[in-house]
């Protein structure tokens, strides 16, 4: 209880849990992206004298960037709209220190019975998600070029 009672530790715990939750999926996606790179390109780079870091930053990362951005934005969206961890662990407490929009909307809308107020809170998720969606779509577009 002391662990979830101290303010910054509470937030740190919640962040760590989300990291833990997203990490395996992101790893698997990135692994697939890395193994889909054409070996010829890497061999050629090595023949041309590129070292490890140069290959990593100038060949591998740019090639997997589209898939990486998908993984990034996918985790962003699913974490941003999520309420489970906060609801189960802290209910937004201590006081409002870890409150997120989703949980607050639930408390106001379903528990508190004023659906309108809850809906208004949930609506504030939308602008940020829209921005993220546009970014995703742009990266998907870019992918079709590759």
């Amino acid at each position: 209880m002391t662990f979830l009672g101290r303010e910054w530790l509470t937030m740190a715990s919640i962040i760590l849990i989300y990291v833990w939750r997203m990490l395996p999926l992101a790893t698997v996606i990135l692994m697939a992206a890395l193994s889909s790179i054409d070996q010829d390109i890497l061999d050629q780079a090595e023949v041309d004298g590129a070292r490890y870091w140069r290959i990593l930053f100038q060949i591998k990362l740019p090639l997997i960037l589209p898939i990486m951005s998908i993984a990034l934005l996918f985790s962003l969206i699913s974490t941003f709209g999520d309420m489970v961890v906060v609801y189960v662990l802290t209910r937004g407490g201590p006081v409002y220190y870890t409150q997120v929009l989703a949980v607050w909307a639930y408390f106001k809308g379903i528990d508190g019975g004023s659906l309108g107020e809850g809906a208004a809170i949930a609506l504030f998720l939308f602008p940020i998600l829209l921005a993220a969606a546009i970014l995703i779509l742009r990266s998907v577009r870019r992918m079709e070029v590759i």
Binding site: A105, Y106, I110
Partner: protein, 280 residues
């Protein structure tokens, strides 16, 4: 010199991999150890949390099965299977027609579908709550059977669309020249080739119904209709009292079979996610 360098490199690689595995698997280890602990062992801060300072016990499992846990398991399974079936029935034809039949509009509809998928459940549970009440489905798992496909179908369609697009049109056309109708050509030629995508959809949809929380919490309030994700925390956290060992046991019992099944399909799942993403 190069031998030493290679050795250092190996050690570094293995070090990173092992650290990663420990980070990922650590909660499961803690769950399994603590499931069998006695209360007085668990709550004494001086005890080493990774050993059994007192002899292990099965009481916590007994407590778990005295709640409606088996009902929760059955409900989750039932909802999961139904939602998977509904999703496949709707998403496969939808994805196929978006990929092949409607030409330019297909792409726009696909983008629209993807946008819909990005709207998180949290934004929608209040309007959906009103719908569920209007259909008189609140307090029944049928509400979840109705609502979960709204999350899974857009994703499934989008993913399968990528798959169907990656299969050359010539293949079906050749089959149709040889006397198949479009439907049998689809069934015999396209479906087997996109099996990875279909498996990815099944796995994704089923785990979605297992871990989905907010709809299950908002729409259902009687205990025997709950699914695992909501039922377990609601039944085993009574006020300020957490029945930790039983909670952890409830999580482990579900997580381990799902994890094993996931591992069987991991390659196909990855193929499904990346092909769907790249060709979509």
């Amino acid at each position: 010199m190069t031998g030493l360098k290679r050795k250092v490199k190996r050690i570094l690689i293995y070090g990173v991999v092992i650290a990663f595995c420990v980070f990922s698997a650590f909660p499961f280890l803690v769950m399994i150890i603590n499931t069998f602990k006695q209360d007085k062992d668990l709550y004494r801060p001086k005890n080493n949390p990774f050993f059994y300072n007192d002899p292990p016990t099965l009481d916590n499992l007994r407590l778990l099965f005295e709640t409606n846990y088996t009902d929760f398991l059955w409900n989750s399974f039932f909802v999961g299977v139904l939602v998977v079936i509904i999703t496949l029935i709707i998403a496969i034809p939808a994805a196929y027609s978006l990929a092949r039949l409607v030409g330019h509009w297909g792409e726009r509809a696909g983008i629209g579908m993807f946008l819909v998928y990005l709207v998180p459940p949290t934004l929608l549970f209040i309007p959906l709550f009103r719908m569920v009440v209007a259909f008189r489905l609140n307090d029944s798992i049928w509400a979840l059977v109705l609502v979960y496909p709204t999350i899974s179908i857009p994703f499934a369609t989008w993913l399968l669309m990528g798959f169907f697009k990656s299969i050359p049109r010539d293949l079906e056309e050749a089959a149709m020249v040889d006397g198949y109708s479009r439907f049998t050509a689809f069934l015999r030629v396209v479906m087997p080739l996109s099996l990875s995508g279909i498996i990815a959809v099944v796995v994704f949809t089923f785990t979605l119904t297992l871990h989905e929380f907010i709809y299950a919490l908002a729409f259902i309030s009687s205990s025997d209709q709950r699914t695992i994700s909501v039922g377990v925390p609601v039944e085993l956290v009574r006020g300020d009292v957490f029945f930790w060992q039983s909670l952890l046991a409830a999580a482990v019992i579900v997580a381990i079979p799902v994890g094993i099944v996931y591992n069987f399909f991991l390659d196909r799942l990855v193929a499904g996610l990346t092909t769907g993403a790249v060709k979509g």
